[in-house]
Symmetry: C2
Subunit: 382 residues, 2 copies
């Protein structure tokens, strides 16, 4: 953080997106963004939002720019909510330390954010984006972790899971004010052997937004309650245990089952919600074949057709070869693989004709935490 | 029934297929085919199996011929099970009336069955087929309804729901021997205003058979139990009430919700089972549009992509016009509509280009019961 003489503070952070292994679906409080169930996630190191925030003294309009485009804040209320909360916390802190002084000093924010993947790809960029804003504001205002977590969450629920590395457990909490609803890193060391293979499957379908979808499911699914009360708590424990003991097969089983169950409760919604498309289903089949005779990969899908497949480092190149056989991979993407997989000779001759087109393939290690990177450094575009 | 001097009895019956409004998925006993939950159904008058059975005195091999093709009984054990049970009941009856006489008299069966729709279309033909066999044997052996019901059920679970007309409630029963597991017609008069529009969506996908699928779901879904214990009993009551009061909207809501939930538990299975394809989903969308501002149609899907849409008589032609806009209907099929809809001028000019192909469209009234039709009459092919 730096503050110049004109009363401007500035900080730059870089925050990875995260992928849930047990899914968040449904809010117990729409305003505070408190979830109906716990979720648990890992970050995707290579897909990040890099954000610079300036806090400027004086009355003025907040501005947000993402990938060189101005965000219309009047139609994106969540930014306003986050800035209001940040300024409330700042005032509170000043009051606490100085009595009622400084009450009248106002500030506004200027946010410039860049993601190294297309926002339109539907890779949950808003989670990384809001986590970055929250982390930057934490630096600027010297907030504690719980305050920063809350700031991320009221921007975009799952953003709070990007506030640290390793296996992150977002607890739904019980309290109405959300004070016990926090995402915390589990105490295990990061399992550095885990990689993910992300496949972007574009389709022209109009998507049901996740906020709207969650609301419909909560209001109409007769299965969701059972999932929340009985299934999820067990799965959170299973994931933690498998992660702590580095049991990949157990981890993978729960990841796949929970992705499927999330999509099952979407289908149990009135009207039914469908996020998976034919390419998603082909990917499921490819993973099933790849998992014979032993489980070496786990697919998971968020509220869209894109797949995230988690594999151990030793199986990444084998899995890419399996993909090449079943799905149209852009071979240029193989040039941007992490270095450790780039020099491998992939079996491009095995490509078969089919209609399953992956418009972007990304391979990344998992579990890194966010980074405070002032002074600025260059972001590697992928 | 007729019996000639050579000891051959013969009877011909015609039995409609049925479509479940609350779905059967999962067995509590694989051998006796006892379901995990109640289901409730209506018959489809126009899709029938017409079956002639001859019971021949003397040792001999049972034979079954469906649509002019011999069925290989060694790989279709269910026929043997049904014939064994029939002969056991016959022996028992004779013993009861005559002491131990006639014990040694053996019989065998010859079955010739014709369906008026292609078996390969996946329209649950086995249900109608086994119901026809059971009903014919009931006539031959003078069985009571419970015995006949059981005979149908051990052939193909849902066959027992084709043994009568009107709204049929198949009760799962509680007893281990299945004696309280019967399908019974509810006491309401048949709602003759209900029609169904059946759309066959062929696809090349290999299908998970329903017996196998049920077993996987029972063994792996963490949602099925809740469905069975909590959701289904409520829905059975809702369907009965809506049917009794002729409340189409309430009926339709439950039908669609239960179809979706059945497919949701399939998706919650390990590995996940998918029966709906892109055409099925287009049909769902078409029905959703058609149901604005008021619910006039209800889709339901069994273990395959084919749709059955239930509408009231007054809305049949409107719904066909809605279909024509979104799905490639074979216009020849409009020539075979029930007479009351045949002379209508359909809006064929509204046909748009798309990839959703319905290879066969059938419109039928609902709720007729089976018929004993010796001497033989001709079956109208559709």
């Amino acid at each position: 953080m730096s503050q110049n003489e004109s009363g401007i503070s500035e900080v730059t952070v870089e925050v990875p997106m995260n992928i849930a292994l047990v899914k968040y679906w449904g809010k117990r409080d729409e305003k505070l963004i408190l979830p109906l169930n716990d979720s648990i996630s890992l970050t995707v190191d290579k897909l990040t939002a890099r954000t610079t925030i300036r806090m400027i003294q004086g009355v003025g309009k907040h501005t947000v720019e993402i990938n060189d485009e101005k965000v219309e804040l009047s139609s994106n209320k969540r930014y306003q909510t986050v800035f209001d909360e940040a300024l409330r916390l700042q005032r509170k802190r000043k009051e606490d330390s100085n009595g009622n002084e400084n009450r009248s000093v106002s500030h506004h924010f200027e946010v410039i954010s860049t993601t190294n993947f297309p926002v339109a790809a539907g890779l949950a960029s808003s989670a990384a984006g809001f986590a970055a804003i929250a982390l930057a504001i934490q630096q600027l205002l010297n907030l504690d972790d719980i305050q920063a977590n809350r700031l991320a969450r009221i921007g975009s629920g799952s953003a709070c899971r990007s506030m640290s590395g390793g296996l992150v457990h977002w607890k739904k909490g019980e309290k109405d004010d959300g004070s016990d609803c926090v995402a915390v890193k589990t105490k295990d060391d990061n399992w550095t052997d885990l990689y993910c293979v992300i496949l972007v499957f574009n389709d022209g379908r109009k998507k049901v937004g996740s906020s709207e979808g969650m609301r419909w499911t909560r209001e109409t699914s007769t299965l969701l309650k059972h999932r929340i009360e009985k299934v999820v708590p067990e799965r959170i424990d299973l994931i933690k245990k498998a992660y702590a003991t580095r049991n990949f097969e157990d981890l993978a089983r729960v990841i796949m089952a929970d992705s499927n169950q999330f999509h099952a409760v979407c289908l149990d919604t009135i009207p039914p919600i469908r996020y998976l498309n034919e390419s998603s289903w082909q990917l499921i089949e490819t993973v099933e074949k790849f998992n014979q005779p032993e489980i070496k990969a786990a697919y998971t899908f968020d509220a869209g057709p894109n797949a995230c497949v988690i594999v151990q480092k030793k199986d990444v190149s084998k899995f890419i070869n399996a993909l090449i056989r079943d799905i149209q991979i852009n071979t240029d993407d193989l040039e941007t693989l992490p270095e450790e997989f780039r020099s491998i000779e992939y079996q491009k001759d095995d490509r078969t004709e089919n209609n399953f087109v992956c418009s972007k393939l990304v391979v990344s290690s998992m579990g890194s935490g966010p980074e405070i990177c002032t002074p600025s450094k260059n972001l590697e575009l992928i």
